[in-house]
Symmetry: C2
Subunit: 147 residues, 2 copies
Amino acid sequence: MVPSLAELHPNPGWAASNHPITDTVGKHCILELYHCRADRLDDEAFLRSSITQAVQEAGATLLQLISHRFNPQGVTALALLAESHLSIHTWPESGYAAVDVFTCGDHTMPEQACQRLIADLQAGDHRLGSFRRQTPEALSEQDRHPR
Amino acid sequence: MVPSLAELHPNPGWAASNHPITDTVGKHCILELYHCRADRLDDEAFLRSSITQAVQEAGATLLQLISHRFNPQGVTALALLAESHLSIHTWPESGYAAVDVFTCGDHTMPEQACQRLIADLQAGDHRLGSFRRQTPEALSEQDRHPR
């Protein structure tokens, strides 16, 4: 049976615990994009399309996508995912975009989303880093043994 | 004259540069909240209200706010700001919430937003860290001398 969108929360229904900290569930990727194509950084529709594709390639599920184009230039777009979120903020006049991708669970590949954005925006240079969110251990255990 | 929302991009209209890297513009706060009140973590309306207040106390401008409640529990909310974004992802069953606040420009106080969320969710424990986004130098210069 295909789950409803509301059922796609990556870690539903854990039991209570004493919340020791682990670092194995939430992954937060930070991507800086330089020397991008300025026209694409300023193209809200293009960015929405690229994000949609990036989320799909990451194996994630897009629930909502919002965006805002600034005056005279620049776009922010935020994607609400079943697995957390993706954001992009662009400065076309500097060829720069700031991206973050936060995903929970082990079925997503946030780096794939990053690679899609690097390619679509034709970034001449980039820096990609990531860190683990310090989620309670109960989340980690449930993630390894999902219902 | 009051600027339109579309004019609130923090760094409009920079000239081109050779994009040396600086670290003085974009600040990204990462907040882990533990032992929060479960009922509030699962209350989408409460979270939207708290975020709205948090953004205001940070001196930022809220442009759009979206949220999604998962089944059986958990909420994600994303706030699109003139100065970048705020996100929260909650796991009521573990008393845990993952927050990030990314702000550009020197007029915002993202830590204030974090403090509002810590208080509103009555977090028994938390970890707050931050790092600088590696934005091009041109953004930094313009931020110090805004139009």
